[in-house]
């Protein structure tokens, strides 16, 4: 069986400087993989390289295969098709993914229509509208009929991220890449969105690549984790193994710091 995502020996250069070097990772069907790194670690660049969206001027070498198809060196128009079918991405700030001048329902419908066209299906307006309602209910947006007519700025941060997730689901991707999806959200909203992601990934049987600087968040969202530092992988393994017995000094520092915050509220457990 082909991996949903297989990155081998990925390096990213910009202006003669190396930003990511020799990163390899893979995500299988039903697998939840976490990529941990602090600012400047190259974690988001790795995600962008995976979907062939590196910023201009950056060059990637090595191999990135989405559903078996090579992304590096492939013309963008061929990668676009993969981005609509094999993989969907949600980002930290859902506003960047949403069109500020378009109602949420229309934005989700647009994705559904594109998907139908690509599959060579014809979808009636009623079908699309029903699918929009189904997706909005799926991501637990309250009062879907009302919110479908709302513009992004009329929604809360948590609702916007749910809408972005609904758009991602509309592509029916086999792999979901989530780059700091809850960092901009309140703690209680974050817990709800994490719960939602967990449920969706499990029920839809998607693979998940979850990228975050936040150890506890990654710890609750994935099964396997990789630690990235200054563009290089320093440690990888099962969540339990890495967080319980970190081996690399950097991971040891990270875990120690996270545990200190946990201990402070530990009394409440």
């Amino acid at each position: 069986m082909v991996d949903l995502l297989r990155i081998e020996n990925l390096s990213i250069h910009y202006d003669g400087r190396s930003l990511v070097s020799g990163v390899s990772l893979s995500v299988n069907v039903g697998e939840r993989v976490g990529l941990i790194g602090e600012s400047g670690s190259g974690k988001s660049l790795t995600a962008l390289a995976a979907i062939g969206l590196l910023p201009e001027g950056m060059t990637a070498s090595g191999s990135v295969r989405l559903a078996g198809q090579e992304v590096i060196g492939t013309a963008d128009r061929d990668v676009v098709i993969l981005r609509g079918t094999a993989v969907a991405t949600i980002f930290q700030e859902p506003l960047t993914a949403l069109d500020p001048l378009m109602r949420i329902g229309d934005q989700i419908a647009e994705v559904l229509r594109r998907r139908a066209r690509r599959d060579g299906r014809s979808a009636s307006r009623a079908d699309i509208a029903a699918d929009v309602m189904r997706l909005m209910a799926r991501v637990a947006l309250p009062e879907p009929a009302r919110l479908a007519r709302a513009y992004p700025h009329e929604m809360s941060g948590g609702q916007r991220q749910r809408a972005a997730i609904a758009m991602a689901l509309a592509c029916r991707p086999s792999l979901l890449i989530a780059d700091e999806p809850t960092t901009a959200l309140d703690v209680t909203t974050q817990a709800e969105v994490l719960q939602l992601l967990e449920t969706l990934v499990r029920e839809e049987g998607m693979g998940l690549l979850f990228i975050s600087h936040d150890l506890p968040v990654v710890g609750t969202a994935v099964d396997r984790v990789l630690v990235l530092r200054a563009g290089e992988l320093v440690e990888e393994g099962a969540v339990a193994e890495v967080f319980d017995r970190p081996r690399h000094p950097y991971t040891i520092d990270l875990v120690k710091a996270a545990r200190a915050f946990d201990r402070a509220i530990g009394a409440a457990l």
Binding site: E38, S39, G157, D186, V187, T188, T189, Q190, A191, L194, H213, D214, L215, P216, V217, G219, T220, V239, A240, F243, D244, D253, L254, V255, K256, A257, A258, R259, A260, F261, D262, A264, I265, A267, A268
Partner: protein, 250 residues
């Protein structure tokens, strides 16, 4: 003796919705206070009130027992010297056109503090573990964590009694975060801290007392230990349950 008292304080913008409603709180010297709330809780407004940057719509604010009087220059000078602040975004809180020495010296100059300014700046830099030669450089030459140290140096150079910190570690990496926590812990031996944050774990590391805010109201307040071990209000319980923690494997 309390440093700052808020009595029945409410605040609304113009004729709009109440952002704060009936807040009573007391900041006592030597007892670090954590103000915890999510977006829309009114925590930023409380911070602005505590700093005298906004005045309550109703209710009273007192500093050292005397009502806050923005029109009284000498009163405000004493107040500003005693109450300083550090902000969330270390990239926005330092003027890019100023040398670090001038950034840190600003409170001394503006408040006419009679002191050897360069010695005071050197002292403040040493307190935040930055080398003396940092004084002659510009903000863009420093990392986020270092900038936050510079902002802390500016806040402590006038030797305040109270240091207000608004989400000071939210923008920082985990490893940098823990070092700033250690720095604040050291500083709290000399001054009282008020930490405003959404992050209950960070606040719990440094504070004796907690206030939990929800939609402009205090839903729970008391010693940190008792709130964390037996939260009474459903919102506090939800907040604690939502806070992600590393899985325990022991």
């Amino acid at each position: 003796m309390s440093l700052i008292d808020l009595t029945a304080v409410s605040f609304s913008y113009g004729r709009g919705r109440r952002v704060l409603d009936g807040i009573d709180l007391r900041i006592e010297a030597g007892r670090n206070l954590g103000i915890v709330g999510e977006s829309g809780s009114g925590k930023t407004t409380i911070l602005r009130l505590l700093l005298g940057l906004a005045l309550p719509t109703t209710g009273r604010i007192a500093f050292n027992g005397a009502p806050l009087d923005p029109g009284n220059r000498s009163f405000m000078r004493d107040f500003r010297r005693a109450v300083q602040a550090v902000f969330q975004d270390p990239y926005s809180s330092l003027d890019p056109r100023q040398k670090i020495a001038d950034i840190i010296a600003e409170p001394l100059r503006s408040l006419n503090v009679e002191t050897d300014i360069s010695a005071a700046v050197a002292g403040a830099l040493a307190s935040v573990d930055l080398p003396p030669d940092a004084a002659q450089r510009y903000p863009h030459e420093f990392s986020g964590g270092q900038r936050q140290r510079i902002a802390i140096a500016r806040a402590i150079v006038s030797r305040p009694e109270l240091l207000l910190a608004d989400e000071v570690v939210s923008a920082l990496d985990l490893t940098t975060r823990i070092r700033i926590v250690e720095l604040l812990k050291t500083l709290s031996e000399k001054m009282t801290l008020v930490l405003v944050s959404h992050d209950i774990g960070f606040v719990a590391l440094l504070c004796h007392d907690l206030i939990i805010l929800e939609k402009g109201r205090v839903v729970e307040q008391g010693p940190a230990g008792s709130i964390l071990s037996s939260p009474q209000h459903p919102y506090t319980q939800r907040l604690l349950a939502s806070t992600p923690r590393l899985p325990d494997f022991a």
